[in-house]
């Protein structure tokens, strides 16, 4: 893609191109960021460069839950105060953060790093499923909560996990699906509405 600069390999155009590769950053923003850094104090530029290198060098996956972490086991797996009889399975580290932000769940996590998507060539072996099974074997875990997305891929992944987990004799649950707060009933799609009716609760 053209960035307004001819890619002559100069430091400035190299930085513009590097910014341009980031998601959501177009050629103009890439130029603005570059010129901001040119004028910024050296410490600021150095801090940014080091922070970038740090995430690449220090961040890895937790050997138990496969969340991104700089210590192994991660803060969730290492926290003795958390309920070790529950594991919440999510697709991405960002989903884990979303569940954690609510503050209602105090158990452990497991990050799959994706969802089953045969059309994109992602099968069970592309996810951390084997690792989940290995981890549950002989563990004190009594409940696995499937918190994958409610998309077709997420649902398929949940179905698949339910099938491979059932021989372990562990309770497998799925996050409730239904109407989101603040939504208009008339705009709810049929699938959401029908699961909402099926999953209705006494008030």
């Amino acid at each position: 893609m053209k960035s307004g600069f001819s890619s002559d390999g100069s430091p400035v155009s190299r930085l513009v191109e590097a910014f341009h590769k980031l998601p959501g950053i177009g050629p103009k923003v890439a130029q603005r960021l570059t010129y901001h850094l040119l004028r910024a104090p050296e410490e600021e530029a150095r801090a940014l460069a080091e922070a970038i290198l740090d995430v690449k060098e220090k961040i890895r996956l937790c050997s138990r839950c496969f969340n991104i972490t700089d210590i192994d086991p991660c803060t969730f797996c290492g926290d003795e105060g958390r309920d070790r009889t529950m594991v919440c399975v999510v697709e991405k580290p960002l989903d884990l953060l979303a569940v954690e932000r609510v503050g209602k769940y105090k158990g452990l996590y497991h990050v799959l790093h994706g969802a089953l998507a045969p059309n994109e060539g992602v099968g069970p072996e592309g996810l951390k499923v084997k690792e989940l099974l290995a981890r549950l074997q002989g563990s004190p875990v009594r409940e696995v909560i499937l918190a994958t997305n409610t998309s077709l891929e997420g649902e398929t992944t949940a179905m698949y996990l339910q099938r491979v987990l059932s021989p372990l004799g562990i309770r497998v649950t799925r996050l409730a699906r239904g109407l989101p707060f603040g939504a208009d009933l008339e705009y709810a799609d049929d699938l959401t509405l029908s699961t909402a009716i099926e999953g209705r609760q006494p008030v």
């Binding site: 045969p118 179905m159 989101p180």
Partner: protein
Amino acid sequence: MPQPRVYETEAVVIRKMNLGEADRLLTLYTSSLGKVRAVAKGVRRPRSKLGGNVELLTCSRLMLARGRNLDIITQSQTIDSFMAMKTDLQRTSWGLYVAELVDRFTPERQASRALFELLLKTLNRLAGDGVGETALRYFELHLLELAGYRPQLSRCPGCNTELPLSCRLSFSPVAGGLLCMRCRAGEPEVVSLSADAIRMLGRLQDSDGEDVLKTGLSQALNA
């Protein structure tokens, strides 16, 4: 005459890709325009009004606004979400296979009502209780036909002689059909098909497939 800015069509979502923060780029197979790529804005947010209406393998009535490159989905209403298919792992993967084939076989914006109907029929069958694999074979044969590659099963595509029934023959993907003994000699890549298989392909090709679907391939052969 200028085209209207918005249009309405029935469509099945055959492919999706995340776009930006909360949008999705969808590949639709529509009843009126064939394959169309369109953006569903904000669908990944829980409160999106498009939400489940534009999930993969869902047939919906959509309102689209023409964009410069990609059209934008403005309204949606589910017609059929093929629930029975989506609650079954095997049938879901068959459905995705069908969607992928449609995507690969079709150019953008070339309408084919027949293909749209074949797609709906196949998804309905996968959501029904018939034999799924038979529905897939039916779909493949008819997709080939609609794409202009109808396999020739009664006459040799090499010399146009009528083929003998009830004996093993070689199918050549390159020639596009079953070869007679003479033409077969020069063809390096052929698949040998039994007389029963040939009979079955013929039946799927020339019928609406309903009778075979009920019983499955092997039973239908013995009938």
